[in-house]
């Protein structure tokens, strides 16, 4: 009730909130008073006919916004009049009914209220073509609702609750690296991460299963042997595959300079010994070695940059040979530990330029069916690289990892002496503290020492004991999970603060996707995370650390759905410059762009409007930006306004396309879901695919836009697609791979469209401007995602007041990235937990 008393005051204040600049429009006459007298028209069909007439008559120059105070009591009638026609118990459009919704008691139905706020702030409701109230009424309602929600939240703050997280693949990799200095590919061990809301670190989606436990156990066993070394290691083989789409015409990073193509990998060897390196080459479909026309090609195999073998490539190999199109090195002596291996071609002293007479170069790499045909002079391509061994073990020499583990060494190799046990205790305590991200209890140490004794017995000795303890550490729930202990007096429904040690862990996994370093643990131990200034100092230190790039490679990449890029394979015959390297460059561009915003602490709005980006030579060529040479990325300013912000990134434009055509729907959906947090409802069942609409009419091929129009003629589809498609249509000037195009299917493209709120847009700058007029919505969505990733839980209606507060606070700091990051770190949700009150168990019984 107290909040309600404040409302008149707040309502006045609401009007000074920077107004949404979309001017009011001439509205249709008030709707008929009673639904009963309305002609029975299909609810979906009606708005379409309206659109057609209204769009034509809508004035392009709008009158200045009228600003009259809106009495809170007026909200209800307005909502009923303009929203209730669809959102009632009968129609339930968008699965929402406002019957029984009391706008004066917005916090009582926070979820519905937040939905209303989102749609009103975006200007998405009432939909274009439907009657809307005059002036800034809708904005005023949104503001009034927000005020209510926000003051209710500050009167009764709820940090929410999330259960403990487990290390996902990326975090596991980083944790093993931090603990042992061992580079592992977590995908070798752990199943793919389950995602929720696009993120792989959402605690309650991280289901547990015997399979998962088994995966962690196996990884613990394997890595403990790998770290300590294995004198009894038996021969095994590991194979890396070079994707067929990877160009091997240029130097591959990590291979020796002066070489061409091939692959570079890091591999950890379990023991010193002899290993064989095998190379398997691409061959023509019917068996002939692809690249057989090139003479004098040699394949260099190197370990840590040093040549260990130089194979003369046999250009007459065929798949019919007993070993196929493959070559092997003699056994190579390699020491235990991690080494960088490379296999790459050494071009002959004289090599003709590869000539392609028939089809584009990339196509002949992509399809090896024509490797030996006239007109293609293909160079050999590596297909697989295999390490086989150890064929003979000679020992286990010192490695960086072993040095890191064995900080002390007893004279007694069996590990039974008092000295050995003291040393074991030292090693185990250090490893355990780092792995568990907390100080060990005496019980922890005793348990691990018992494992040491078990491993020491028999033939294991001191090292065997340490290995067993390390296996225990890596398998321990304290390593695999990130527990946050509840205080002894914790009660359901009552929030408590996390201990500084736990806050440090949250900070580290949020900003680094890695465990806390010594400095952060120290700051926590000394109580320096207890003050806002102390936290800020740590956050700024961490943001300056290279590990903070995980905000780009993990947070931004997942938020923007960059992993989807790997699923798209543009048709190589239409998009002839696409290869694996270009795909990687696209992803890298977006990541570097975001990383740069964080590093230079730029405004979050640059995400949408930056007039610069990051390109290397290949991507610059793809974009048509001149003057960029070399494989390294650099910041460049766009020559014109065709692109700008992430919406112009090839990554986003490609991941929202199909193999052979762009998709206005996918692009529109991406914007609505990723940038506006306003996902369109899923299509009803039985909807025909766009592919089911004819691809040609009147003797010519149709553009995507034309096919969309035919598709939208279906009334069931139209109601949503009217919002989705125009966004994507404004981006039709970019092809499947994000290149600027003027034609689609040979027909000139037409990008003119009207966005969901009636704003005309014919290209990316116009779309961007329209979106930036809704900058509040963009920033809220960004914050929601950042918060979900930081908290490891989905952000819900109850969190929206905090989201709004972060955006407001950041606004006072030019929307700097640090303001958002610190804003999230400062929310109670990040620093506190509120155990859920037990739900009345009656529902089950």
């Amino acid at each position: 009730m107290r909040t309600l008393l404040l409302l008149p005051l707040l309502a006045g204040a609401a009007l000074t909130v920077p107004g949404d600049p979309v001017p009011p429009r001439r509205t249709a006459p008030p709707p008929p008073p009673s639904a009963a007298v309305r002609p029975a028209v299909h609810p979906v069909l009606r708005p379409i006919s309206r659109v057609a007439t209204r769009v034509a008559s809508r004035p392009l120059v709008r009158p200045p916004a009228a600003r009259a105070p809106l009495a809170p009591a007026a909200m209800g009638p307005v909502l009923t009049q303009y929203c209730g026609k669809c959102h009632n118990n009968t129609s339930r459009r968008g699965n929402l009914s406002l019957a029984g919704y009391d706008a004066l008691r917005a916090p009582d139905a926070a979820e519905v209220s937040e939905k209303i706020v989102t749609k009103l702030r975006l200007g998405m409701m009432p939909p274009a073509g439907s009657a809307r109230p005059t002036g800034d009424t809708l904005d005023a309602i949104a503001a009034l609702l927000e005020q209510q929600l926000d003051s209710a939240a500050s009167a009764r703050p709820d940090p929410g609750y999330r259960t403990f997280q487990r290390l996902n693949r990326a975090e596991y990799r980083a944790s093993v690296l931090a603990l042992l200095g061992l580079e592992v590919d977590a995908a070798n061990y752990l199943p793919p991460d389950t995602k929720s809301d696009g993120f792989d670190n959402i605690a309650d989606a991280q289901a547990l299963s015997p399979m998962l436990l088994d995966a962690y156990l196996r990884a613990a066993s394997d890595l403990s042997w790998l770290a300590v070394g294995n004198r009894a290691a038996a021969a095994a083989s590991v194979t890396w595959t070079v994707p067929k789409l990877a160009s091997q015409m240029e130097h591959v990073p990590g291979t020796p300079y002066g070489t061409r193509g091939g692959i570079a990998v890091t591999h950890t060897f379990p023991a010193d010994g002899d290993y064989r390196l095998d190379a398997n080459f691409f061959h023509e479909t019917t068996g002939a070695f692809a690249g057989g026309l090139a003479r004098g090609e040699r394949l260099e195999l190197s370990v840590d940059g040093e040549r260990v073998a130089l194979l003369e490539v046999d250009r007459f190999m065929t798949a019919a040979d007993p070993n196929g199109v493959a070559m092997s090195s003699e056994p190579v002596r390699i020491s235990a530990g991690t080494h960088r291996l490379a296999a790459a071609f050494v071009p002959p002293g004289f090599q003709t330029v590869s000539q392609e007479l028939v089809s584009p170069l990339k196509y002949s790499l992509f399809s090896t069916s024509n490797a030996t045909a006239y007109g293609f002079q293909q160079l050999p391509h590596l297909r697989e690289f295999t390490v086989r061994g150890p064929l003979r073990v000679t020992g286990v020499s010192e490695t960086a990892t072993r040095r890191r583990i064995f900080r002390c060494r007893p004279a007694d190799a069996s590990g039974g002496s008092a000295e050995a046990r003291t040393c074991a205790r030292t090693i185990i305590t250090r490893l355990g503290t780092e792995a568990y991200r907390r100080a060990l209890t005496p019980g922890d140490v005793d348990g691990l020492l018992a494992l040491y004794e078990g491993g020491r017995a028999g033939t294991g000795g001191f090292e065997g004991g340490i290995r067993a303890a390390l296996e225990g550490i890596l398998a321990s729930p304290d390593f695999v999970f990130r527990f946050e202990r509840a205080p002894a007096d914790a009660r359901p429904g009552v929030a408590y603060r996390l201990r500084d040690e736990e806050l440090a862990v949250r900070l580290a996994f949020f900003l680094w996707s890695a465990p806390p370093d010594a400095a952060l643990r120290e700051a926590a131990a000394r109580g320096r995370l207890g003050t806002p200034a102390g936290v800020e100092r740590e956050v700024r230190r961490m943001l300056a650390d290279p590990r903070a790039s995980s905000l780009a490679t993990r947070f931004a990449a997942q938020w923007l759905r960059l992993p989807d890029l790997a699923q798209v394979q543009p048709d190589i015959r239409q998009y002839t410059d696409f290869d694996e390297q270009l795909r990687g460059a696209m992803q890298r561009e977006t990541e570097l762009f975001f990383d740069d915003l964080v590093r230079r602490d730029r405004s979050a709005l640059e995400l949408f409007r930056a007039d610069y980006t990051f390109v290397n030579e290949q991507l610059a060529r793809h974009y048509g930006i001149p003057g960029v040479a070399g494989p390294q990325f650099r910041r460049v300013r766009y020559p014109d306004s065709t692109r700008g912000g992430i919406l112009g990134h090839a990554s986003v434009l490609t991941l929202t396309s199909h193999a052979t055509r762009t998709s206005a729907v996918e692009r529109g959906k991406w914007v609505m879901e990723v940038l506006l947090h306003s996902p369109p409802p899923p299509p009803p069942p039985g909807v025909p695919d766009l592919e089911a609409t004819p691809g040609a009419a009147d003797g010519r091929l149709l553009t995507v836009r034309e096919r969309m129009a035919a598709h939208r003629a279906n009334p069931t589809c139209a109601s949503c697609h009217r919002m989705i498609d125009p966004i994507g249509l404004a981006l039709e000037g970019f092809d499947v791979t994000g290149r600027v195009r003027l034609r689609d299917n040979g027909m000139p493209i037409d990008t003119r469209t009207e966005l969901w709120d009636g704003t005309p847009a014919a290209n990316l700058p116009a779309l961007r401007a329209a979106l930036l007029r809704r900058q509040e919505s963009l920033l809220r969505t960004f914050t929601q995602n950042l918060m979900a990733y930081a908290l490891g839980r989905r952000v819900e209606a109850g969190d929206m007041p905090a989201v709004r507060a972060i955006v407001r606070g950041a606004g006072a700091q030019q929307h700097r990235m640090s303001a958002y990051i610190l804003g999230v770190v400062r929310t109670p949700a990040f620093r506190m937990q509120r155990p859920p009150e037990p739900v009345a168990a009656s529902s089950d019984r």
Partner: protein
């Protein structure tokens, strides 16, 4: 929920990701609880199923070969003679063999002018789906759900691994193979859905570790298991403390974790009990990698399949023995012409007969599998009696790339649902899908009424 999520892994990371799979054999006490267990109880003792594909058709499907009966025998019914056919190595197993002749794989044919000639790059996707693949080199591949996956959905969920996919030849896993077809069509015969081809495992080591855990010798694996067991034991103690330390809300999750710990402990105990009984359960040593010889590679993969079935790790295999347009030479066959060149024999009698020798060599690999399955007892029944093996090719006459009158064999007792000693000659124009639909019905997937281009069922 199945123990292993059936979501296909990212194709690129699949091979690396294999390490994550369940490591220990599945025995009575490890049977899953809950829904999976109920499904299992309903299923009883499901038939193990192996689908083997050989590419390039058979010499006996060419005009000359057909006249000479180089693939299937002249006689139909049960008194047929395999002498002189490529199937002659199966003579000792005829009591459990059904030869199904004269069925067509029409969906492997070209529908459109631009598809003409692309048979090699389309066929494998058709064999077990009997659906027509969309011609594309992009990511928008589309075929059908394969029969092994339909079966695994129903009967594979009770085992740690619902189904496994193995192959012999190297894969590309992306990119165009030829004639505008993505290599995904050429690389896999198993399709989880029309858009999800499942990657096939070529390295026996990878398959082995997936099934039996890491370690090269039984002793090493046993040592590792012991180490894991003591770690588990110690974890159990830690979980008790955790229950005290954590809030009520987290306790439920800790309890679930503890259940998982107990589940894995049970499995280890079972394995150890079996190992103590001295029964030969494993290969003497884990394979180091892909053997050089085709025959060795195939036999090793058969060994793994039998071991996996014996340990009830999985009940469904698909195994791709060849890759279309491969020119591999099989020296053990006595023929030194490459597989693909040999298949283009031009209907020249001498060359057709040469190709028939290669077919015979391939079929001759089957008795090794059959013997092993027959010698392996499941309870008091030879595993062969509880297994159905399908062997066939989606191409018929490799010389002309046609897909009519394709080779198809069914072997094994299938829990009493397959008799053998029969040669069925289907009426002209019968889709192979009809035989597959019949098989599905017999194996208990009886609510599927349509498979691929089936027009009904073909009794065999």
């Amino acid at each position: 929920m199945p123990l292993i999520p059936r979501t296909p892994l990212d194709r690129r990371t699949f091979l690396q990701g294999m390490g994550a799979m369940i490591a220990l054999p599945q025995l009575e006490a490890m049977r899953p609880v809950g829904r999976a267990a109920r499904a299992l109880a309903q299923a009883g003792d499901p038939t193990r199923v192996l689908f083997l594909e050989m590419v390039h058709g058979a010499a006996g499907c060419s005009p000359f070969g057909q006249a000479e009966h180089l693939w299937s025998p002249r006689e139909t019914g049960s008194s047929f003679s395999l002498a002189g056919t490529s199937l002659s190595p199966l003579e000792p197993w005829r009591h459990t063999l059904s030869i199904i002749s004269n069925t067509d794989v029409r969906n492997a044919e070209a529908y459109k002018p631009e598809e003409i000639g692309g048979d090699h790059f389309r066929s494998s996707a058709v064999f077990l789906t009997q659906a027509h693949p969309t011609q594309t080199e992009g990511s928008d591949v589309h075929a059908g759900t394969s029969i092994d996956q339909l079966y695994a959905r129903r009967f594979g969920q009770g085992t740690p691994i619902p189904s496994m996919q193995l192959c012999i030849e190297p894969l590309d896993r992306a990119g165009g193979c030829a004639y505008g077809y993505s290599c995904l069509y050429t690389d896999s015969i198993s399709w989880a859905s029309p858009t999800e081809p499942l990657p096939m495992v070529r390295d026996p080591r990878v398959a082995f570790e997936q099934l039996f855990g890491v370690g090269s010798t039984p002793a090493e694996r046993a040592a590792r298991t012991r180490s894991t067991a003591s770690v588990l034991d110690w974890i159990t103690g830690r979980v008790a403390e955790l229950r005290r330390e954590l809030g009520v809300a987290d306790r439920q999750r800790v309890d679930q974790y503890l259940e998982n710990v107990r589940e894995i402990e049970r499995r280890i105990q079972q394995v150890e009990a079996r190992n103590r009984s001295g029964e030969e359960r494993e290969l003497a040593g884990a394979p180091a990698g892909v053997p050089d010889s085709f025959g060795d590679h195939v036999r090793l993969m058969f060994d793994l399949q039998v071991l996996a079935l014996q340990a009830d790790m999985t009940r469904v295999f698909s195994f791709k023995l060849g890759r279309d347009a491969s020119s591999r030479v099989y020296p053990e066959s006595g023929v030194m012409t490459g597989f693909h060149p040999a298949s283009h024999h031009g209907n020249n009698p001498a060359r057709v007969k040469e190709f028939a020798e290669i077919n015979k060599y391939h079929v001759g690999l089957l008795p090794y599998l059959l013997e092993k399955l027959n010698a392996t007892m499941d309870g008091d029944t030879p595993l062969l009696q509880k297994t159905a093996i399908v062997y066939g090719s989606p191409m018929a006459d490799g010389n002309t790339h046609n897909h009519r009158r394709c080779p198809l064999l069914v072997l094994g007792g299938a829990n009493g649902r397959h008799a053998g000693n029969r040669h069925v000659m289907a009426p002209d124009g019968t889709p192979m899908a009809n035989a597959m639909l019949e098989l599905l019905h017999r194996l208990g997937v009886d609510d599927v009424t349509q498979f691929g281009d089936s027009t009904g069922t073909l009794a065999f």
